[in-house]
Amino acid sequence: MTTPVRKKGRLSEAVQNIQPSGIRRFFDMASTMDNVISLGVGEPDFVTPWKVREASIDSMERGYTAYTANPGIIELREEISSYLSRQFSTPYDPENEIIVTVGASEAIDIAIRSTVNPGEEVVIIEPGFVSYAPIVSLAGGKPVSIGTKKENEFKVTKEELEAAITSNTKAIMLCFPNNPTGAVMTKEDLDPLVEIIEKNDLLVLSDEIYAELSYDQKHYSFARLPGMKERTILISGFSKAFAMTGWRLGFVCAPADITAAMLKIHQYAMMCASTPAQYGALEALRSGQDDVERMVTSYKQRRNYMVKSFAEIGLSCHVPGGAFYAFPSIEETGMDSNAFAEGLLHEERVAVVPGNVFGEGGEGHIRCSYATSMESLETAIERIGRFIKKHSS
């Protein structure tokens, strides 16, 4: 006879204390329905450029199927280094300041785990990507959120940052261009934060995965600000810019001591990122910039279309300067974001993500990804317009 499995207490308290993502619930609902137009997808609608796929296939044919060095193949780190210098004027040393990771998601994880001690606070900008706060909690840290405001175009202000800081604050997590708001922060917007960051000796974890998808001016990396590179962990990757989400390939750049610390976690938890993916990424950086520009032009056109169409159907929406999300306010309908998103899905078969799942400041908004065909966007706008009309009398 076998001993019965003891279920009580077999899960860690840390994992029990975090909630599954609110996005999951909408996925479950939407995926059982037919004829749904989805504005809920957080990834490009382009397939990875063929030259990148071809390079990866070729690497496998030539037998590059073994582990690579822990931080990634050196050729790729060198390309990342010159890419960052070229595009964003943020040079990093390929030998000891860059790690190729399993998506930007792993980069977020190892950046937090290698810097945050139990009890230390990390300031998180919300609405924001759903994984920051849970990862901070899993590391034993305490996420402290700042809810950005529509009237500030969802940028974080000096005053908001100052108010969130305590003697326990270790780091601030920035994420611009932002998922879900599409907000960007220019050099002029970032400048005032520097004083507070220096005064409180904070680290900055800057998730710049959407950097290439900036439509009105070139992205300004936080690490480029004078004196900030030394206290910044720059997180980025290939998913959004090169339409490579499923490849799970990102990178993290930081001062050598932090990179060495992150590399310890990475080598034990991951060993290295997927080898064929790394060879694909190499090609992406060597010859994919034209593809990036082609995709960015297309996103920008769709961004323009969405913002103007929302205005026409009576939804107020700030102009998102980056990423591929519009984040219109639905407050005038009197519904909360959950009710709106659920109603819209059931009555009009349009999937959007309620703003409240992205944390403080997200309520009253919905995230609409415009990384989908113009045809679908046109139909979605028509359906959302009908839904609003029906519920606004």
Partner: protein, 165 residues
């Protein structure tokens, strides 16, 4: 050409059915401005036509036959290849005509209903022209890609999950 004119041109090149109102929103211009640009591009014969790319192989009994014909010709004094080219491209069967470098001078693309129709065109019309020295006819067996569009099922179906972070 100005940047926004180029942008509009690229949009209609990719999708000739986009309506003016949609284009206007996409390029952040008024409908009147977009209409003016299109009128100008049409008038200047930069935009020649708004046509669909059709996969005729999927239309029963309408598949037809296409041939690419390499043509060697004697250039004429004073007009070079232009005169003989014009005599060829005026035939409605001629789908495309290019002057090319290499072993041949002209590349003629002919659409017809049957192979014999094309054979007749080559022997009775094309070869009968005084300046035509020789022809080599290649019949199309299958179209993989045309005008930048992949035929067959391509990659059009969306493989993404419906809602993701």
């Amino acid at each position: 050409m100005e940047e926004h004119e180029l942008e509009i041109l690229r949009l209609v090149e990719e999708n000739g059915r986009l309506d003016i109102a949609t284009i206007a929103k996409m390029v952040d211009r008024t409908e009147e401005e977009v209409q003016t640009v299109l009128n100008k591009l049409e008038k200047e014969n930069i935009i020649l036509s708004y046509a669909a790319v059709v996969d005729w192989s999927k239309v029963n009994e309408r598949e037809g036959v296409t041939a690419m014909i390499d043509v060697k010709v004697t250039p004429q004094r004073g007009v070079g290849f232009d005169e003989v080219a014009e005599r060829i491209y005026r035939f409605p069967e001629v789908e495309a005509l290019y002057l090319v470098s290499g072993a041949y001078d002209l590349l003629v693309v002919i659409d017809g209903d049957t192979m014999s129709e094309i054979a007749r065109f080559v022997s009775e019309k094309l070869s009968a022209l005084d300046s035509v020295i020789s022809t080599t006819t290649h019949f199309r067996l299958k179209t993989y890609k045309h005008d930048g569009i992949m035929f067959g099922d391509g990659e059009d179906d969306d493989k993404r999950i419906v809602v993701s972070p």
